[in-house]
Every structure is written in structure tokens, then in C-alpha cells.
Amino acid sequence: MRTILFLLRKEFLQIFRNKSMLPLIFIMPLVQLLILSNAATYEIRNITFNVVDLDQSRFSRELVSDFINNGYFKLNNVGFSLENSEEDFKLNTARLIVHIPKYFEKDFLSNGKTKVQFVINAENSADAGIIYNYASSITRMFNADVIAEFQNTSTSKALPLINIEYSNWYNPLLNYKTYMVPGILVVLVSLIGMFLTGMNVVKEKEIGTIEQLNVTPIKKRHFIIGKLLPFWFIGITELAVGIVTGIIVFNIPLLGSPFVILLLASVYMFVVLGIGLFISTVTNTQQQAMFIAWFFLVLFILMGGIFTPIESMPEWAQIIAYFNPVAQFNRALRMIMLKGSGLPDVLPALYFFVVYAAVMMSLAVWRYRKTEN
């Protein structure tokens, strides 16, 4: 026990003496959390659009003004050539072209059927789908308005109407911050934990100070515990500070129990630290350790369901995602904070972390050798 205390003191001294690292460990994550949480949104407003109105009738002008007054769209320019209008796609000044063909009104009045074309810059496929949805619903409403106007004069049958109501549970206003804050926190805590432990041992190797540790009578497990506990504390503290910041600054809900989060996070941190430690035992230089840590971090982050839904991934990637601790923790944290899920709901994740941590630790202890061979 005493040995561990001494080791802990040494590690903490080393961490706090490295003045250039301190702001990176403690301030950078908070700054990133505060700034980046505002970024993610698929809520599209101010969709810039061009109008190519070849009809110039009362109807066409009314349809265009419906677009302008809708609040989601912003008129960029009006022209008479579709080709010229599409140039604006390349200049990124317009995302949609409302193309109203000649005889738009006449066809409607005499044939009862007319056409309008939407040309969308579909470079971004997700946005394109949403823009189309908005545009076609404006047209549907316009259609209904026009029909209402005619209802009195003609004997048309009433259009059967299915009324669609939406509700967004757990986040009725679609506040993207409540979704981003837990995700970014998970990333930052994992990044700091894995990076610091990964670098730590390999640095002692590279500089040669590991020899000094190896000739002391401390046991392997003492060594490992001494290396891990400081970063465990740092990780848990940062998570707690981050959650409190999220609640105060961004007003994100914490529906579940903080103790469940603490329990889950305690075990999760050991998984992350274990991975970092294992990386440092299989590499020789800080450069190698960094690149491997980077590879896994980016893998964990991008395939962790933090920015893009896991449900959209192909089958094999979903299997990889299952073994991705960041994905598991992210899912569990969002469930607890936003949906108020309790311990029974996240129990599978907890078991998973326990096994994962045990495996990574054993691997690290097994790979760490006091003697050179």
C-alpha cells in the first residue's frame, strides 16, 4: 500500500510539474466542449434558392412568394435560364432551384394537372432529402390553398387528408446540444485517458528512466496501479466537471441518477486506461504509441455513433461498434442523461466494461516485462 502511495505521489508530481501539459489536460477539453457542442445540427434554415419562373403568372408568383415567406428559404436570385441558375451550385450560393415551366397556370386551369420542378444541389445527400421534403410540403399546401379557392366554383371531390402529427420525445425542441454534449464529453475523456497513459510508460522507455523503475523492488501490479490511478482521477474529475458545465451552460437534462453515471464511468475509465497502457507496452517510441492511439481513437470516435447513427452502418460495422467501448459508453450516457434510464437498462454495458477492463489490464500486465530480452 505504501509503495503505491509513493508511486502515486511521483506520478502526480510529474503531471503537475509539466506546465505546458496542464492547460492541455484541463482547459482544452472544456473549451472544446463549450465551442463544439454548438456545431452539430441538421436543422436547416436559410436555404438559399433561385427561381426560374418561365410562366410569370399569378399562380407562379404566389408559389414563389410562399417559398419566400416560409421562413426556411432565402431567395438568392431570379433568372430565366435553368443552366445559368445551376452555375450558382458551383459557386455555393444556392442549394435549390424552383423551376416553374411555361403554361404552369394554364395547364392547371384547363387540364387540372400541372408540374413544378425542383433542382437540388445533392452534394450533401442528407440535406438534399430534407430540402426536398420542405419544398414539396410547401407545394402541397399551395395546392390545397388553390383548391380551396376553386372549391366554391367547381364541383371537385374533397381530397382525403391524412393529418400527420409529430412528436419528438426526450428532446421535443430538437435541441442538438443535449445530444452533442454527452457525445463530446465521452470523446474528450477517452482521448485524454488513453493518450496520457499511452504516452506515459513509453516515455519512460524512450528516455530510459524505466530502467530505474525496473531495478526497484516494486511489483508489476504496483507499477501498473501507480500508473493508472492518477489518470483515472483526472478522467473522472473531467467527466464530472463536463457534465456540470453542460447542465449549467447548455441546460441539458440529467434525468437519470448521477450515481449510475459515476459507477459506469469508473469502470469505463479502466477500459480506456487499459487500452492506453497496453499500447504503451507494445510500442517502443512515443511516436509509434501516438499513431496507434490516434488510429484507435479516430476509429472509436467515428464509428461510435456519436456523430452519425450506428443504425445507418452496415451489419459488419455494427458488430465492430458493439466492441467499441466509446460507442457503448456514449449510448449508455445518453440513455441515462436524456431518457432517464436506470441501472437495469445499462447493466449490459456495465458487464461489458468489467470484462473489457479485465482483459485489457491482463494483457498489459502480461506484456510489461521488467527485464529486457
Binding site: N18, S20, L24, I25, I35, L36, A39, Y42, I44, K90, L91, G112, K113, T114, K115, V116, Q117, F118, V119, A122, E123, N124, S125, I130, S136, V146, S156, A158, L159, P160, L161, I162, I164, N168, W169, Y170, N171, L174, T178, Y179, I184, L188, F195, K203, T285, Q286, Q288, M290, F291, F295, L299, I301, L302, F307, T308, P309, S312, M313, R334, D345
Partner: protein, 368 residues
């Protein structure tokens, strides 16, 4: 010049003799492009839904079938009461519940009006947004068919043309973004420790007493990595074209030129980090912890910059990857030539110059 050549050759040896690191440098970007290119998409596919059908008539059955046969959705369970909705969501398996009111079909034919409710799990708001969008599109499609069967007059048909990406493949959007994120991170990571390592190992002294000037030392450090990064970007481009079938509508030469320019920007960013950090750990922490998230989030790779709040749109201007993504999507997907992307190209030039300038300014020719 001869001295400089000797120095560059020394740097080459340094890199190429460390086969393990070399393997990592070449292997990882390729592995990442392949993994992420396939895995990262925000297309809706087989999302688990539950249906609460309080009417159970032909119409609701038809709508239900239409939704479930769309490839977007998959039935997870049928609910029998409103009380079951909440627990179903809490288990985290389903993302959407579709509720049909009692006597839905009757209401529709008799009064011409019926209600359906779509409840989405908005703890992931992006997904919720898209799920609701797709579901309502399918339902209004059904409604339109119904109108057609009844030969209903006075319809405005909407015709749609998706430019540059007719099948709405998210690969088209994500692969160019992925290229720039990976190239930036790999390049910046590579050079960020080049100078700090010499400092930490004590070999810096040897370099400082040599007659090379700071610019030569920095250039000598960058050149081997430039070659490495160029090989990486070529491989990534080939993968994007062959494996992911992303078209290159514009000029291939322009794409290659922009890749080289972007790699130079990233490498000089790394060098700048290297000159301002006292040791390797700090340099790595800045380039790893400081670059990963901002680059992924603020570059427009996943989240469109147009949709961000103004303040973040301004901050995103400082992210080199943002400019490269605009260029590369423009040239590859839209066939833009230099006359469309010269501004972005100029920004990358400016950034490279600025980073190099700061590096030289910060490069201390004295120790301690």
C-alpha cells in the same frame, strides 16, 4: 545546397529505417479510409420501428406495409397500448413509434380526415429529423396515390432533380471529407514531433551548430514527409475512385495539385506545433487532442457549415480542412475548375505561408 541535400538524405534515412513507424504511416490511412468509407453514413436503413395500430383496418395495414417495405424501416414490435410506448423507448431498441387513431380508415373515407402520429426518439435529433421526414414522405405518397385512384383533379405534381448525386449516396459527401480529415491529421501528426523529438533527445544541439539556417532545417524536415503524404493521398484518391466509386468530374490534375497544396498546409501546421512545444508529449497532445474534434466537427465533413450558428461559421474559417473539403467536393463532384475554387486555394496558400512564417520566427537557434 549540397549541405542541404545531405540533411534531407539524413532525414530520409531516419524515417525509412524505422520500418515499424513507416508501416503504421502507410497502413493506417488506408485502413481508415476503407473502414470509415463503408461504415460512416447517415442514410436511413432498417431503422427499428414499433407500430401502435388502434384501428387495424385495410388503410392502416396498407400504410404500415408501405412504410415497412421501404428499406428505411423494419418492424421491431407491434404495441397494443399507449402505455407500452415509454418502456419500449427506454430499452433503446426502437427509434420510432407510429400511432394510428381508432377508426382511421373509416374517418378517412367518411370525413376525409384521419390522424396518424409519429413519435421519434429525439435523443438523437438528427436521426429523429430524418426518420420523421422519411415517414411523412411515405404517408403523403400514399395519400397522393389515393387521390390519383379517385381521379382527383387540380394537382400540382412535383418533379425532382438531384444534381451531382442523383442517388443521394452519402458516400459522395463523406469520402471527400474523410480524405481531408485523414490527410490533415496524419500530416500534422507526422511533423508535429519532428523538431521536439530532436530537442528531447538532445540531438538538436548538433543541428544548431551546423551551418544550416532555420528555413533549411524546417524544409529538410518537411520534404521526406511531403513525399510520404503525397503517396498517401494518391492511394486514398485511388481508393475513393475505385472502391467507393466517387466520380472525379473535374480535372484530375487539379485534384492532385490541391492535394499537394493541402498536404503542405497540414505539414507546416505540424511544424508550427513542433516549434512552439517544449517536448514531444505536449506537441502530440496539441496535434491529437487539439485537432481531432475541431477538424471532424467544424470542417463540414459531417455537419454542414451552412447550418451552424454564425459564431461557429466564423471559427470554422480557421480550420484548414474546411477549405480543402469545399475544393475537393467542388472539383470531384461538381466539376468546378480553378475559376470556382481559386479563393479557397488562395486561403490554403496563405495558411501554409503563415504557418511556415510562425515556425521560422519561433525556431530558436539557441538552447535553453
Amino acid at each position: 545546397m549540397k549541405r542541404f541535400r545531405g540533411f534531407v538524405i539524413k532525414e530520409f534515412y531516419h524515417i525509412f529505417r524505422d520500418t515499424r513507424t513507416l508501416l503504421i504511416l502507410f497502413g493506417m490511412p488506408v485502413a481508415q479510409i476503407l473502414l470509415f468509407g463503408f461504415a460512416i453514413t447517415n442514410e436511413i436503413k432498417d431503422v427499428n420501428v414499433a407500430i401502435l395500430d388502434m384501428s387495424k383496418d385495410n388503410t392502416t395495414q396498407e400504410i404500415g406495409n408501405k412504410i415497412l417495405s421501404s428499406n428505411y424501416f423494419k418492424l421491431y414490435e407491434n404495441l397494443s397500448s399507449v402505455l407500452e410506448i415509454e418502456p419500449a423507448f427506454k430499452k433503446g431498441k426502437i427509434k420510432e413509434v407510429i400511432v394510428f387513431e381508432p377508426d382511421f380508415g373509416q374517418n378517412l373515407t367518411r370525413t376525409g380526415k384521419a390522424n396518424v402520429q409519429i413519435i421519434a426518439d429525439a435523443s438523437d435529433p438528427n436521426l429523429a429529423n430524418m426518420i420523421i421526414g422519411y415517414t411523412s414522405l411515405i404517408i403523403s405518397d400514399y395519400q397522393r396515390e389515393l387521390a390519383k385512384e379517385n381521379s382527383f383533379l387540380f394537382q400540382i405534381e412535383t418533379e425532382i432533380k438531384m444534381r451531382f448525386n442523383p442517388n443521394l449516396k452519402s458516400v459522395y459527401m463523406f469520402v471527400p471529407g474523410l480524405m481531408s480529415v485523414i490527410l490533415l491529421l496524419v500530416s500534422a501528426l507526422m511533423t508535429s514531433i519532428s523538431i521536439t523529438k530532436e530537442k528531447e533527445m538532445g540531438t538538436m544541439e548538433v543541428l544548431l551548430v551546423s551551418p544550416l539556417n532555420p528555413l533549411q532545417i524546417i524544409a529538410g524536415k518537411v520534404i521526406p514527409y511531403l513525399l510520404l503524404a503525397f503517396v498517401n493521398s494518391t492511394v486514398i484518391l485511388i481508393l475513393a475512385r475505385t472502391v467507393f466509386k466517387v466520380p472525379i468530374v473535374g480535372s484530375l490534375w487539379l485534384v492532385v495539385f490541391e492535394c499537394i497544396l493541402f498536404v503542405i498546409t497540414s505539414l507546416s501546421l505540424g511544424i508550427m506545433i513542433s516549434t512552439i512545444s517544449p517536448n514531444q508529449q505536449t506537441a502530440m497532445m496539441i496535434s491529437l487532442g487539439g485537432l481531432i474534434l475541431p477538424t471532424i466537427i467544424l470542417s463540414g465533413y459531417i455537419f454542414p457549415i451552412d447550418n451552424m450558428p454564425i459564431l461557429l461559421q466564423i471559427i470554422s474559417n480557421f480550420i484548414p480542412a474546411k477549405w480543402f473539403i469545399i475544393i475537393i467536393r467542388g472539383v470531384m463532384l461538381k466539376g468546378s475548375d480553378l475559376s470556382y475554387v481559386w479563393k479557397e486555394t488562395l486561403v490554403l496558400f496563405g495558411m501554409s505561408a503563415l504557418f511556415t512564417f510562425i515556425s521560422i520566427r519561433n525556431f530558436k537557434t539557441r538552447l535553453g
